[in-house]
């Protein structure tokens, strides 16, 4: 805006200057003329006054001459002639002066001529008078008298002339005085006008100049600001020419401060130096040639090249334009842009490779993808989606209508419903349907799609998966599940059979054995007694076996309804149940405070029951039997045995006895089902008890193991998650 103001004003300034000068000249000339006029009128007035003086002078001479004439007549003075001659010459001077003064005034000249004539007459008369006076004759008297009368007459004429002259002069003077007054009135006014006008012109000019100066200053500041704050480097070069006029170098005339940011050298140091000295590379990297070209052709040229400043590569783009005799260059740092474009290229490459990976992944995973723009109506289908339906990529126009042609006719409704649902809801929609591929194969597809809004445009993005193999597997799994369910049910009914139907007759056998024993035993022979005992024992063993087996089968891992169990209470209950045998065998039980754990109550009870039963059963035959139950909390790293430790901390419960013990070699064997270390006859047992214990602890995500020394006792270690 500033520029325009300044440029447009230069023309108007010139006009204003011309007008002002013309006006000043006009006024000056008017003033000059006025002053001149005044001077002239003043001269005229003074000359009029001089005329007056000279007239008086002249006529005073005449008066003197008259007076002397009369005197000489009376006194008969002969010197009169001489005196007259003297006065006569004086009148000549006055006359000359007067005629000089009044040569411009015709009236006066006329008067003067007449005066001159009368003076000549006076001359004659006086001469005559002087001539007659010496003669002393009679007629002289008369002649004298005539002459005196003549003189009188001349004098009268002269006086009347004097009067006329005076009057004429007075009138002229008056007129001149008026002119003079007018001039004296106008001249200062005109002069004043000139001064005032000059002042106005001066003031206007000053105002204008000052305003322009201010504008110029602010414009300069504005430009300076632009140059300083601009991210661009602005330089101005003056060419250096050799003798033949060829440009051989450039000198920095100006460089903005930005040059320090780019090159690290302050602008002050650069200004005045040669381009070839400060930046030698520019002589070869095309920049110098560009400047030369720019200067020679006047075209605007640009060049992007890189430099290395402080071990960093800097990309610069320079735009050069000719300005007067030099080159004005705007340089922009484009390192970031260059970097970005490099990055973009890299990104594009990686995107390309990722796309390739995705395409491969689609093939491998039997997945296709699509995008549908419901507002526009067009769709995109991935290459593999074509392949999935047995077509070549791009074989048909990607659209839902075209894709629908491959959907199983019975599933069309389902498919369309899925599409419609997709448009309504903002959630992921899944649709399962069948496809008849181009080569007439039946495939199961699953579409997962979502309606999204991107940049205000709606689009459905989806993944189509060939789930045929999954469906087949599912079907197999389903069959297997059913088989499993059946076998589970069978197992359940087997359990039932064992627990009830098998036990029922056995119980009855035992019942009648007991009745028989109570009532008929005494009637049996010795042999019969032995047989009877064997029957009784076998029945008892069978019952125990069945019961243990039942317990074992009942402890399945499907129990997940863990409850909080105070193990102390469970132990008490077990002790209570076993109280008879404990008392009978005189067992000492030493126990520590047990933790509260999460588990299945009856299983925990069973665990303690089995362990305590074993300890009682295999008690020492020589020493007083002792059972020690210890409990502590340990970190999993402190557990020396290896098992799958899912918890950080474990409760370690140790049940140890001073019983008969077993060989450490059998330490793992004892937990296997139906494993027995002793003869049936030696110790009653089914070989299931510890297997049950292991199963229970396993169920509780814990671990059980045992250490033992034959004859010294055994320790059972149980780890349960804390």
């Amino acid at each position: 805006m500033y520029f325009r103001g300044i440029i447009s004003s230069s023309k108007s300034y010139k006009t204003a200057l011309v007008v002002a000068i013309a006006l000043l000249l006009l006024l000056s000339s008017i003033s000059y003329r006025q002053i001149n006029n005044m001077r002239k009128s003043a001269d005229l007035v003074s000359s009029s006054l001089m005329v007056d003086k000279e007239i008086n002078n002249l006529f005073s001479k005449f008066s003197l001459i008259e007076a002397f004439g009369y005197r000489s007549l009376i006194l008969n003075d002969s010197t009169f002639a001489e005196t007259y001659q003297e006065y006569r010459s004086q009148t000549d001077t006055a006359f000359l002066n007067l005629s000089n003064l009044s040569k411009d005034i015709p009236e006066q000249t006329q008067y003067l001529d007449m005066v001159s004539q009368w003076r000549d007459s006076l001359d004659i008369t006086i001469n005559n008078l002087n001539k007659y006076r010496g003669q002393l004759e009679q007629d002289v008297e008369g002649k004298l008298m005539t002459e005196v009368e003549k003189i009188d007459f001349i004098y009268q004429k002269l006086y009347s002339l004097k009067l006329g002259m005076s009057q004429s002069k007075q009138a002229l003077l008056k007129e001149r005085m008026i002119a003079y007054k007018t001039n004296t009135l106008f001249t200062p006014f005109v002069s004043m006008l000139l001064v005032v006008f000059s002042l106005i012109v001066f003031w206007v000019a000053f105002r204008k100049i000052n305003n322009s100066r201010k504008k110029l200053v602010s414009t300069q500041a504005f430009l300076e600001n632009i140059v300083t704050n601009s991210n661009n480097l602005i330089t101005y070069f003056r060419p250096v020419k050799d003798e033949s006029g060829k440009i051989i170098d450039f000198v920095f005339e100006y460089a903005s401060n930005k040059i320090e940011d780019i090159s690290g050298i302050p602008a002050k140091q650069i200004i005045g130096t040669k381009l070839s000295e400060s930046f030698p590379t520019t002589m070869t990297n095309g920049l110098f040639d560009m400047y030369v070209n720019c200067l020679n052709t006047g075209n605007i040229n640009q060049l992007t090249r890189h430099y290395v400043f402080n071990n960093e590569t800097v990309w610069l783009k320079s735009i050069a334009s000719k300005l007067e005799e030099g080159v004005n260059v705007t340089t922009i740092e484009v390192t970031q842009e260059k970097q970005k474009s490099e990055d973009l290229r890299g990104l594009n490459e990686s995107l390309f490779s990722k796309n390739a990976i995705l395409n491969n992944a689609e093939v491998i995973a039997k997945i296709g993808s699509f995008t549908k723009y419901p507002e526009v109506g067009n769709s995109e289908m991935s290459d593999n989606l074509y392949r999935l339906i047995g077509c070549k990529p791009g074989e048909f126009e990607p659209s839902f209508e075209n894709f629908k042609a491959y959907v199983h006719p019975n599933d069309l409704q389902k498919f369309e419903k899925g599409v419609a649902k997709n448009l309504e809801s903002k959630e992921i929609t899944e649709t399962n349907y069948r496809i008849i591929t181009k080569d007439d194969k039946l495939r199961h597809f699953k579409s997962t799609s979502l309606l999204i809004t991107e940049n205000g445009k709606q689009k459905i993005v989806g993944v189509v998966q060939d789930v045929t193999h999954i469906i087949k597997k599912d079907k197999k799994l389903e069959l297997k599940n059913k088989a499993l369910e059946r076998s589970n049910a069978e197992l359940e009914s087997f359990n039932r059979v064992v627990s009830h139907d098998l036990q029922e007759p056995l119980r009855k056998i035992q019942m009648f054995i007991s009745l028989l024993s109570d009532t008929e035993r005494k009637n049996l022979s010795e042999k019969g007694e032995v047989f009877f005992n064997k029957i009784e024992n076998s029945a008892g063993r069978m019952q125990l076996l069945i019961r243990n087996l039942l317990t074992y089968s009942r402890i399945d891992s499907t129990h997940e309804d863990f409850q909080e169990i105070d193990l102390n209470k469970k132990l008490e209950k077990v002790e209570d149940n076993l109280s008879e045998r404990i008392l009978e065998n005189n067992i000492m039980i030493i126990k520590k405070e047990l933790p509260i754990i999460k588990g299945i109550p009856f299983q925990m009870e069973q665990l303690f029951n089995n362990l305590l039963s074993n300890a009682i059963k295999y008690k020492s035959q020589t020493e007083a039997a002792k059972i020690i139950i210890d409990a502590s909390r340990v970190h999993r790293n402190e557990i020396p045995v290896t098992f799958k430790k899912s918890s950080k901390n474990y409760y370690k419960i140790v049940v140890s006895d001073n019983g008969i013990g077993f060989s450490q070699d059998n330490a793992t064997k004892i937990f296997e089902i139906f494993e027995r270390l002793h003869q049936k006859t030696e110790y009653s047992g089914t070989g299931i008890g510890l297997a049950i214990c292991k199963k229970i602890v396993d169920n509780h995500h814990g671990f059980i193991h045992a250490t033992s020394v034959v004859g010294k006792g055994s320790s059972f270690y149980i780890y349960l998650p804390a």
């Binding site: 627990s499 029922e504 035992q510 019942m511 054995i513 007991s514 009745l515 009942r554 209950k573």
Partner: protein, 147 residues
């Protein structure tokens, strides 16, 4: 209690068990009047029309036509019968059976013993139970009756 006979009902499909139960009851000092039923249906029919409510009902679980669990549920739904103490008398020692009968309102659970002395002992103990006390303190722990 000794003045009047204790009215005891037993529903069990097994003839031997009925006989054994009867024998055991007869051997006890306590005077009882026992009525035996072959299945749950018979028991329920009797209960519906009986003038006098029994003191206690022993219920076998596994019975034809109407099993013990069905009888228990029916009794506990019936306003007139819901107060009668019920002792489950079964061979089954399965947790499931014990739990279910407890939930449905049985008062005591007896595993059929496998010797006659034990049978006598358990029946005697059950008959001499202070029902009011036992019922008010009934919990999962003392539900299963042990000798």
């Amino acid at each position: 209690m000794s003045l009047t006979n204790l009215n005891v009902l037993l529903a069990d499909d097994d003839e031997d068990d009925r006989w054994l139960f009867e024998q055991a009851l007869n051997d006890l000092k306590i005077k009882t009047k026992l009525l035996l039923f072959k299945n749950g249906k018979e028991l329920m029919e009797h209960l519906q029309k009986a003038n006098h409510q029994p003191h206690i009902v022993f219920l076998d679980l596994n019975m034809p036509i109407k099993n013990g669990m069905e009888c228990l549920i029916e009794m506990r739904k019936d306003v007139n019968l819901k107060g009668i103490p019920v002792a489950i008398y079964s061979t089954s020692s399965s947790e499931e059976d014990i739990e279910n009968t407890f939930v449905k309102g049985a008062n005591v659970y007896i595993n059929k013993p496998n010797n006659f002395e034990a049978l006598k002992k358990v029946v005697d103990k059950v008959l001499q139970l202070n029902w009011q006390y036992h019922t008010s303190n009934l919990n999962r722990e003392n539900f299963l009756f042990r000798i």
